[in-house]
């Protein structure tokens, strides 16, 4: 074990941690070197799994207490899409956003307003809704992205609350009563959208697949490199010629778009929305999903969102104790794996939690040693 461990050897928790860490690291190391065909097979299998997931046989195990297909749409599917969006902001650009629910709300309200007041069809609202939330991302970002760290977190938290409270106090959009009779999407490819959650689930699944491909491509582009540099050292990034402000704004823009997309799809299914659907705790929960899964790593984030959405439903049989168990599960996971279930390979190396203790990074101790000297020199 290395010096960074907070749990001592011999503690059963430490042994459990070694098992968990060892296993997920082996999976990731295999993945990093896996040939193209193996990766495509895994992608194919995962999509196939997602397609057959609503089958009642799977549902009877996954969710004995609630309707599985409904759960798959919301919260599971919506959480996954929101987490993928928030991961662009938090995981890639490193901007702590505590008000992500605002974009979800704006997307949902756009669907509700355009659908009920103007009779727009879902597919048109989808485009407009994404546009409006993207603009709202810019409106939030341009004055606030000059702030860093904790201050940015506070301002975004405020933004989330402002959107909810404004909705609550604006009669035009229903005030505290919210908006009812939101139209369902028009049929497409012969698929009817009505009360059955399945078509909505597949719609959401398609959105998730497209957004994940988009996010993955961004990550590997010049934009992704710029975000990585900003996340790791913003001043140094600026010195390298990265227009840091512009790229931070872009992260907000894209994150907001994905949040808005989720909101539009969700609102088109639920018929009625109210301001309390968009509480601060939802922002916090999505952030927990990102951090739990491994901020910055898409597969990790998706697993994190799935667990955060699914576990409380799975434990519904424990009635009032389910949140207690959910909390205990979160604490246990963070104790076993503080950097997330599947963190990005590299960030894991930096935290010093190297899984092969026999090969510590040469010179690592030295780096640690001259830090106090630096503080003195400053």
């Amino acid at each position: 074990m290395n010096a960074n461990s907070t749990i001592r050897d011999g503690n059963p928790l430490a042994m459990l941690r070694q098992t968990v860490v060892g296993y997920s690291d082996r999976v990731r190391d295999w993945w990093a070197t896996a040939p193209g065909w193996a990766r495509w097979t895994v992608y194919g299998l995962l999509i196939a799994l997602a397609i057959i997931a609503p089958h009642p046989a799977i549902g009877s195990f996954m969710s004995p207490h609630s309707h599985w297909a409904s759960l798959l749409f919301s919260p599971i599917g919506t959480f996954v899409l929101l987490a993928v969006g928030l991961n662009v902001v938090v995981g890639q650009a490193g901007l702590l956003d505590l008000g992500f629910v605002a974009f979800y709300a704006i997307g949902a309200y756009t669907m509700a307003v355009f659908g009920t007041k103007y009779g727009w069809n879902f597919w048109g609202v989808l485009v407009v809704g994404i546009f409006i939330t993207a603009v709202s991302g810019i409106i939030l970002g341009s004055p606030t992205l000059r702030l860093r760290g904790d201050y940015l977190a506070i301002v975004t938290l405020g933004f989330g609350e402002i959107v909810r409270i404004t909705a609550q106090n604006t009669e035009y959009i229903g005030g505290a009563r919210g908006i009812t009779n939101i139209p369902h999407p028009q049929p497409i490819f012969g698929v009817e959208f009505f009360l059955d959650p399945l078509p909505y689930y597949y719609l959401l699944l398609a959105a998730i697949v497209l957004v994940v491909i988009f996010a993955k491509r961004l990550e590997r582009s010049r934009v992704g490199r710029a975000w990585e540099a900003i996340r790791e050292d913003e001043d140094a990034a600026e010195l390298m010629g990265v227009p840091t402000f512009k790229f931070k704004l872009l992260a907000f823009f894209i994150g907001a778009m994905i949040g808005g997309l989720t909101g539009v799809i969700w609102a088109s299914k639920v018929i009625a929305i109210q301001p309390p659907n968009f509480p601060f705790i939802l922002s916090a929960t999505i952030l927990a999903a990102v951090v739990l899964g491994g901020s910055g790593n898409l597969p990790g984030v998706i697993i994190g969102a799935f667990l955060i959405a699914w576990l409380p439903e799975r434990f519904r049989g424990f009635a009032d104790y389910r949140i207690l168990i959910f909390g205990a599960a979160l604490v246990l996971m963070m104790a076993l794996r503080p950097e997330g279930l599947l963190p990005p390979r590299r960030r894991r190396a930096v935290t010093g939690e190297v899984s092969k203790p026999e090969t510590p990074p040469a010179g690592g101790d030295e780096a640690g040693d001259d830090r106090p000297a630096e503080e003195v020199a400053k």
């Binding site: 140094a236 600026e238 930096v350 990074p361 040469a362 010179g363 690592g364 000297a373």
Partner: protein, 238 residues
């Protein structure tokens, strides 16, 4: 003059950190800026590279006024900086760190990479090591090499000796000399006045946001006041 700073004032909130600093750096020179903690050395460099904005005064580089140019565009005109505390991207490998230095340019960087690896053979050995796991000296090499990747006309170095063992300091300083010999102008901020003055052609002494002295570096080495204040002069040289 390649770089001319004219009477710049910089504020942190209401506190005036620089109270009218003027200095010049000629093409091919090594100029050093020495001074105590809080004298404004780092602020001066950050203002030149655009990380801090100035309240008044001007910065002229290569004949153009760049006072209002955003930091990321100053890289394009030819200003490269190795920041205070090195600022290596901890999660990127050595090679990736170096390639970030060439972010504004497109194309193939094998030649530039080879040049940096030739200058720092240590980095060549560790090109795939993650930045955050390297020693202080190696990180300093990455920071300097990364700044060189943008092919700067002037290289701004902020305390490259900070927190390093004496042997490493000597090594870093000899590399700075080598970089200068190859044609890059250097503006060096240092607390390690003795070594900085031995290396530089000219020097400025900064005290509480003002330039209090400027002279050829060799003269300052013998200057009684400078010896007293920055070189531990009273301790044995007499």
């Amino acid at each position: 003059m390649l770089l001319e700073i004219k009477d710049i004032h910089v504020h942190y909130g209401k506190i005036e950190a620089l109270k009218g600093v003027s200095l010049e750096v000629g093409e091919g020179e090594i100029v050093t800026l020495i001074g105590a903690n809080g004298a404004g050395k780092t602020t001066t460099l950050k203002t030149i590279s655009g990380l801090r904005s100035l309240s008044s005064g001007s910065i002229v580089f290569d004949g153009k006024d760049i006072s209002r140019l955003p930091g990321h565009k100053r890289v394009l005109v030819g200003i490269g900086q190795s920041p205070e505390g090195r600022g290596v991207f901890p999660g990127m490998t050595v090679t990736e760190n170096l390639l970030m230095g060439a972010y504004t340019r497109r194309g193939d960087f094998t030649k530039e990479l080879d040049e940096v690896f030739e200058l720092f053979p240590r980095l060549a050995e560790r090109r795939n090591q993650i930045g955050g796991t390297m020693s202080g000296g190696e990180q300093q090499m990455v920071a300097i090499g990364r700044a060189l990747m943008s092919k700067p006309k002037v290289l701004l170095l902020d305390e490259p000796s900070m927190g390093l063992a004496p042997m490493l300091v000597a090594q870093i300083f000899s590399i700075i000399k080598e970089i200068n010999d190859r044609g890059t102008t250097v503006l060096l901020v240092e607390q390690n006045a003795q070594q900085a003055l031995q290396l530089a052609h000219r020097a400025y002494v900064l005290e509480t946001g003002r330039v209090v002295k400027s002279a050829p570096a060799a003269d300052l080495l013998d200057d009684p006041q400078v010896r007293e204040a920055y070189l531990g002069g009273a301790l044995g040289q007499h």
